[in-house]
């Protein structure tokens, strides 16, 4: 591990300016991802700005919905009564992630920014375009069971590992950002990128920009929602495939639908094709099957993850069925 300077920020402006001025500086939240990456020499910042003291951990009801402060801990969000009541899929997604100890430390901002769990990315002895642009992608010809089936490039086939972000994608959340040049808002579905030719860039967040909050728009039918995670063990494993679903149903007809997937792409994957089929259709297995099939039509699996296509299909159907059966 390289030596680094450490400062605790008490003001947002100072935090933003300090990081903006130093290309090698990073914010640190719960540290549950960044410290691991530093220990493995995957990331080597020379300055850490600790943002845990910034007053950004409130969860509050706003006119348009709910605002979650960027420093709110994953566990606090998951067990928040308003979140549990209005956005159960978000609570479920958070609780499906990591372990209680990690969730107690992990922040919402850090969760958005967490990096892929691709084995080769973590191993500095391996080529990896995300870690070292131009070095090649070890996963494409390697062991790629946990990799993407949607939106990958010939430079990188990694997935974004977050559960929370899948729920946020289904909810059309908006990320609030403060930068050196002022504030801006980024819709969650634009926040993470596809790898393309620059897999080293995970998100559209610019260096020095601080995530201050995540806004959840009012979405009454999100009460009828569900997060399903398929994984290799009962807990404490990243998703092979996950699905966040919310349905607005009236008289057996779907009026609005949200379907997002995790574990399948470089970003939380909104299943737009599925949503299009669902809206206006009857609540039944044929509808769900058609939605699932439309989603996986564009899947391009790798050598070791062909199963994800079938798994994704079944997970979508299961998740829709669960929500469809809700009162």
């Amino acid at each position: 591990m390289k030596l680094f300077a450490y400062t605790r920020a008490t003001e947002q402006d100072v935090a933003v300016n300090t990081v903006s001025r130093n290309q090698s500086a990073k914010f640190i939240g719960g540290g549950t991802n960044l410290l691991d990456l530093m220990k493995e020499n995957v990331e080597q910042p020379n300055q850490l700005i600790d943002i845990n003291s910034l007053p950004l951990s409130k969860i509050e009801v706003t006119r348009n919905g709910v605002r979650i402060g960027a420093m709110a801990r994953n566990s606090d969000v998951a067990y928040n009564a308003i979140i549990q009541e209005r956005y159960p899929l978000l609570s479920q997604a958070l609780l499906a992630g990591a372990s209680p100890q990690l969730r107690n430390m992990a922040t919402v901002g850090g969760n958005l920014m967490q990096r892929t769990r691709c084995y080769y990315f973590y191993d500095t002895a391996m080529p990896c375009n995300k870690r070292e642009p131009g070095s090649g992608c070890a996963a494409i010809e390697g062991f790629n069971r946990i990799h993407a089936i949607f939106g990958a490039s010939d430079q990188c086939i990694a997935t974004h590992p977050s559960d929370m972000c899948v729920a946020l994608a289904a909810l059309d959340a908006v990320v609030q950002v403060q930068g050196p040049k002022g504030d801006r808002q980024i819709p969650i579905t634009d926040f993470h990128r596809l790898p393309g030719d620059t897999p080293q860039i995970d998100t559209v967040l610019q260096h020095g920009e601080l995530i201050t909050a995540v806004d959840l728009p009012n979405l009454p039918f999100a009460k009828r929602s569900h997060y399903l995670k398929v994984r290799d063990r009962a807990s404490y494993a990243f998703a092979l495939v996950s699905v966040a679903t919310a349905l607005d149903i009236e008289n057996g007809i779907i009026r609005a639908a949200r379907v997002a997937m995790g574990g399948v792409a470089h970003k939380p994957w909104r299943a737009v094709a599925a949503e299009e089929i669902l809206v206006g259709a009857k609540v039944n297995q044929e509808t769900f099957r058609a939605a699932a099939e439309a989603t996986v039509k564009e899947a391009k699996p790798q050598k070791h993850n062909k199963f994800k296509v079938e798994m994704a299909k079944r997970a979508i159907m299961r998740s829709l069925t669960e929500v469809g059966e809700m009162a």
């Binding site: 084995y119 191993d123 070890a138 063990r233 009962a234 404490y236 092979l240 798994m311 079944r314």
Partner: protein
């Protein structure tokens, strides 16, 4: 006098070391605070085969705090396994004992594989990815870790062979296996037996590479004082470490002291000595300071052994009534290119069931991977997954209940050795286990049992593990205050050694357990075998028992001849001991305490040291523990996720010294078996030859949520033959057959037979 008064043995005594452990007072190998300690960090190769052409250490040397950078260019010359150790006297004790124990002439060639020199940094040759190529020593751990990243290594790389399936063409017949089982076992006429069958099963099963990953990482703290070396080592075999390090460094074993007072799990990986222990010793010598070296979690994937991948073809033939006509078990496993370790995967097959026609073969494939090693129930663990899965397949083919199939093939004696069983409670285990588990509620039809959208399945399998015993010594001191101290080199790797030896000593001396102090894990104490082969209780226990009896005899001898003693003239059988007071059986008022006898004789202490060696039992009997494993699973048929919802194991394992620690061993074994069934697999990337998922985030072991309520109990078994205490050992049998029981339950639930472990969701879609 009646032999053990038997008040502590059989009681669920709490771990005597429990308090030390939960309060953090128990010191592990990396926790001895020594003055002036330096820290060492391993450097590993980033190729699997080839040669190092250059190592540039200049940047590392200049890095702050660095005290030494040791590579093959400047490492001291060490003994090689070929050249043998400096002094090999006594080195063969254990393996020869194992041969004697099993009653067979060993194929191990007489040399103890766990005492051979362990050469490190002796050449530029790279044999596997992650091979130790250097060690960096610095003032602090952080400095050493950073400097270790500054080494610039260049290689001339060759194409490695790292995947067994791709190299089966190069399979060879090994000279020997670790234990005295020949690579090939044959009896009767296998082809004839198969032909005579009404029903046949012929399938290939595989188990993946698996890693032990005990909770406490391997670590060594090395301290030199002149020519004397002390090693605080996370080891399950202190005498083995002493001998191996002596052989490697070519110094007398007496100059080495190895201490392993507490060990946070081992599962076999801490039995052999590995390179890091040697490197810690070398590093400490070089910097002339104590050196601490902790193997990181990631490095544990390449530095301390693993369980080899296995591929096992099983052919079974049976008559319509279920009687087996043939058993064939053909096994491939891997070893490294520089050492041989071929796991005895088929070890249980020849003796388990009644058949005249049998074939078991072991073939090895040499790969550019680290050398595999023993891991909890080596042999039985992978072997019984395959064999007991095949038995289940046969039961279905015969439309016979799987338990009934096993009962119909219960052998009267060990057909391979031609010996009677010392005791065998397989049938009783199945009978009692099936009853407790509710086996009769099982509808044998696959996919017939449901709970809402989930499929439910029940499966069963046999468990077995041999009863081993090794020569062991122990010293017991009875002090003037009537308390006792027990000393032996043995280790407690979490199994409860401290506790069960306390119970044995208390009973043998007739004093309460609180008055016994057991000290183990130190080569300064009488020599013992390491903790392995489930022989700890039988070997250490027998030695402690004899030493106590010897001390007791000395003291009683004094009293009997002493006119001042109320015990004068009493015979041995005429006396009894309770709470440290010896008295006449006829007249309990006639007696006195140990304290009184010692005080009168002006003795501060009376002691005895004994070496206890196995008797001829192994030549007369086939000695094994047996059990029955029962799993219930719930499978999500759409998503392929399997949960074990219930597990029950029933075992006949001789006398149970402590039902609490013994049950914990069973439960631990079952949990590890569930991990083997559903989760554990280390994947090799054949292009680089490295273990891809080399961390605990991606190498999955069961977490709490994966583990249901587990029941484990022992059937009453009185075995007068195995050893004086009637102990069979419980450390390993718990894992055996678990993976098969789970896989059989998954088949019952889904109608899908998974023959390749682990049973991950993708395989059930």
């Amino acid at each position: 006098m009646n032999d053990p008064t038997n008040k502590a043995i059989g009681k669920p005594l709490d771990r005597v070391d429990g308090r030390l452990k939960v309060t953090g007072a128990a010191r592990y190998a990396a926790e001895f605070p020594l003055k002036n300690m330096a820290h060492a960090v391993l450097v590993q190769s980033a190729i699997a085969k080839g040669r190092i052409t250059n190592i540039d250490t200049s940047a590392a040397q200049k890095s702050p705090g660095v005290l030494a950078v040791i590579t093959h260019l400047n490492a001291p010359k060490l003994a090689s396994p070929q050249s043998g150790g400096g002094d090999s006297s006594g080195g063969d004790a254990q393996v020869t004992a194992a041969n004697a124990q099993s009653g067979e002439s060993g194929s191990a060639g007489g040399e103890n594989p766990f005492e051979k020199p362990v050469p490190v940094l002796q050449s530029d040759q790279i044999n596997f990815y992650g091979q130790h190529i250097g060690v960096v020593v610095a003032e602090t751990l952080e400095q050493a870790r950073h400097a270790a990243t500054l080494l610039r290594v260049t290689y001339r790389e060759e194409r490695p062979a790292t995947v067994m399936a791709a190299n089966l063409a190069n399979a060879y017949k090994p000279q020997s296996l670790l234990i005295p089982l020949k690579p090939d076992t044959q009896r009767g006429d296998i082809q004839g037996g198969l032909k005579a069958a009404d029903v046949q099963v012929d399938h290939t099963y595989t188990t993946p590479n698996e890693h032990h990953q005990p909770m406490e990482a391997h670590a060594t703290t090395a301290v030199w004082d002149g020519g004397q070396l002390t090693l605080y080592d996370s080891s399950q075999n202190v005498n083995g470490v002493q001998k191996t390090v002596a052989n490697t460094l070519r110094i007398p074993p007496e100059n080495i002291r190895v201490i392993a007072s507490f060990v946070g799990g081992g599962f076999g990986s801490k039995y052999p000595v590995r390179g890091h222990t040697i490197l810690a010793a070398i590093a400490a010598q070089q910097v002339k300071r104590p050196v601490k070296l902790v193997v990181t979690r990631e490095q544990m994937f390449t530095s301390v052994g693993f369980r080899s991948h296995s591929s096992q073809r099983i052919r079974l033939g049976a008559k319509k009534d279920g009687k087996l006509t043939a058993i064939s078990h053909e096994i491939h496993t891997q070893t490294s290119v520089f050492e041989e370790f071929i796991e005895h995967v088929g070890v249980a097959t020849p003796m388990l069931y009644d058949t005249q026609n049998l074939l078991v073969t072991h073939r090895g494939v040499r790969l550019n991977l680290p050398t595999p090693t023993i891991m909890r129930a080596p042999g039985e663990s992978p072997g019984m997954f395959a064999f007991e899965s095949a038995m289940d397949e046969l039961a279905y083919a015969l439309k016979l209940d799987p338990i009934e199939l096993r009962l119909r093939n219960e052998p009267e004696r060990d057909l391979e050795k031609g010996l009677p069983w010392s005791s065998r409670s397989l049938v009783e285990s199945f009978r009692q286990g099936a009853k407790s588990f509710g086996w009769e509620r099982r509808n044998p039809e696959p996919r017939s049992m449901r709970d809402g959208r989930y499929l439910i399945g029940m499966g069963t399998a046999t468990a077995t593990y041999p009863t081993n015993r090794m020569p062991s010594s122990a010293k017991v001191r009875l002090l003037a205050d009537g308390s006792a101290q027990v000393y032996l080199a043995a280790t407690d790797i979490g199994t409860g050694t401290y506790t069960m030896l306390t119970q044995i000593a208390a009973d043998a001396l007739g004093i309460p357990t609180e008055r016994v102090r057991v000290e183990i894990g130190d080569t300064k104490m009488p020599r013992t075998p390491g903790s392995g082969g489930s022989w700890g209780a039988a070997s250490y226990g027998s030695a402690v028992q004899s030493a106590c009896v010897a001390v007791r005899a000395k003291i009683l001898g004094m009293a009997r001849l002493d006119p001042r003693s109320p015990l004068k003239g009493l015979s041995n059988v005429g006396m009894d001991i309770r709470e440290g007071r010896i008295f006449s059986k006829r007249d309990s008022s006639r007696g006195e305490t140990y304290q009184e006898i010692l005080a009168r004789n002006n003795l501060k202490v009376t002691e005895a040291e004994v070496e206890s060696t196995p008797d001829e039992a192994a030549k007369k009997y086939s000695m094994h523990a047996f059990g029955a494993q029962f799993a219930q699973v719930r499978v999500d048929p759409d998503l392929g996720m399997v949960r074990v919802t219930r597990f029950l194991g029933t075992y006949g394992a001789g006398r149970i010294l402590n039902p609490k620690t013994a049950r914990s061993q069973m439960i631990g074994g079952i949990i590890m078996g569930i991990g083997m069934a559903l989760h554990e697999e280390t994947v090799v990337d054949d292009r680089y030859g490295h273990f891809v998922n080399h961390n605990l985030g991606e190498y999955h072991v069961p977490v709490h949520a994966d583990i249901p309520a587990i029941e484990a109990f022992f059937v009453k078994e009185n075995d007068p033959h195995v050893n004086p205490l009637g102990i069979k050992g419980v450390g390993e049998i718990g894992i055996v057959g678990v993976a098969a029981a789970v896989a059989n339950a998954v088949y019952h639930a889904t109608g899908k037979r998974i023959r390749d472990l682990p049973i991950t969701p993708d395989k059930l879609l």
